[in-house]
Symmetry: C2
Subunit: 273 residues, 2 copies
Amino acid sequence: MCELLGMSANVPTDICFSFAGLSRRGGETGPHVDGWGIVFYEEGGVREFKDYMPSHGSKLSQFLSDYPIKSHIVISHIRQANVGGVGLENTHPFQRELWGQAWSYAHNGQVPAALDLANTRFSAIGSTDSERIFCWLMDSLAARFDAAPDPQVWADYLSGLCESINKLGVFNLLLTNGNALFCFCSTKLCWITRRAPFGVAQLSDKDLSIDFAEVTTDNDIVTMIATQALTNNEVWHTMAHGECRLFVAGESVWECHTRAVLHASAASQADGA
Amino acid sequence: MCELLGMSANVPTDICFSFAGLSRRGGETGPHVDGWGIVFYEEGGVREFKDYMPSHGSKLSQFLSDYPIKSHIVISHIRQANVGGVGLENTHPFQRELWGQAWSYAHNGQVPAALDLANTRFSAIGSTDSERIFCWLMDSLAARFDAAPDPQVWADYLSGLCESINKLGVFNLLLTNGNALFCFCSTKLCWITRRAPFGVAQLSDKDLSIDFAEVTTDNDIVTMIATQALTNNEVWHTMAHGECRLFVAGESVWECHTRAVLHASAASQADGA
């Protein structure tokens, strides 16, 4: 399995603190040693960083833990390979352009049957089930809408697609077009919104704490989404099986609950996640 | 104008030496202060690094100058903005997926009329003429071929497209699908192939030299392509107006000479490049 990390904020915010915790799970406090990636949305643009090395001990991940990139949406992923070998082409997040927007996506889980999905306009570069699903989602969005609809509209359509994929395996995902961050919980995903009055947060994976009151203003709203809570002194919301949420500028603006029909093998996989 | 740098090699090779020279042109020895980017092809995958800051003095470019990423194809670009503001969305190289391949492209020059090009399947995310042309090239390739043809076949088709764009302005470009590196010279591009016996090279932009004999084997073949020669003690081949070349594994495997019809304003722009 893998671990996901996402951020949605109403002001450009750096993710160094949370990334320092997540990256330790890639080889130090967790077994996700098969590469990692992170994508930052900054104003109108996007940039990503990827490595096929474990995030713990990677010079690039160390650089990013110390180099504050301020963005309003972030998606990150650390990988424990299942389907597809270790290599950059199989490293999340994956990215495609649709309607002049840069869409990014990262997946936690396994959906081996997805390798049978037919892709039309978008094709996988690597060999993971995850990227095949992403291409199928993008194909479906492109076929359904001629131009970019409002986020709630594509989120609503996407929730149905996610429900159908979720029947085939374990499918926790983060997906964004740079305006809104969409989350689908198959088995394991949680989130927290931080706003004034801010307090001190303590990482679960590292002896590191931060007083957010010192680095924020009263207007800041920042939501973090993760496979497992990254801090041990805050209350994170645990998402239900089949729950979708859409975050814009740090706020949860839309949610829905799909039928949480777990695939026969999903429950057992989830236990081992 | 901007500056381009490309590499094609038959073995995974790092570009730290050349990048150290190029990055100084972004604010130190040259005026290209409006961002920079570099894309590395490594085995089946690709990763890119971008910044909207000048490459000279950028912590990220300093990191890459010291961090050897070994790859077989590289494209890099440092930007002096003309069309489109300074921002990640307008920073080269641009990237799109076609036929399950990651295509990357960087452009030096100006083709303002390209903003009138109609895009179909691929749309620009930023506001540059460069990205609009890239999308038009990818649209054209997708319409012409159902699946990836041999590199010489798409290069031949692409040369005609480049000729038509070149009539509208200044259009020096590097483009790759990860297998082959295509170059088109509108006004200014040069290249050098290094092979055994290797010697010492001295950067033009920095007091730095390297003895390639110490870091290569006798079988290595490495071609560098650049807007201006990066070293001052080697002979670089100056490309002619309208000349195209295709490099695979460090070797020039195909070339053609399109009609070098310079746009009225191109000659004067070229002088100032």
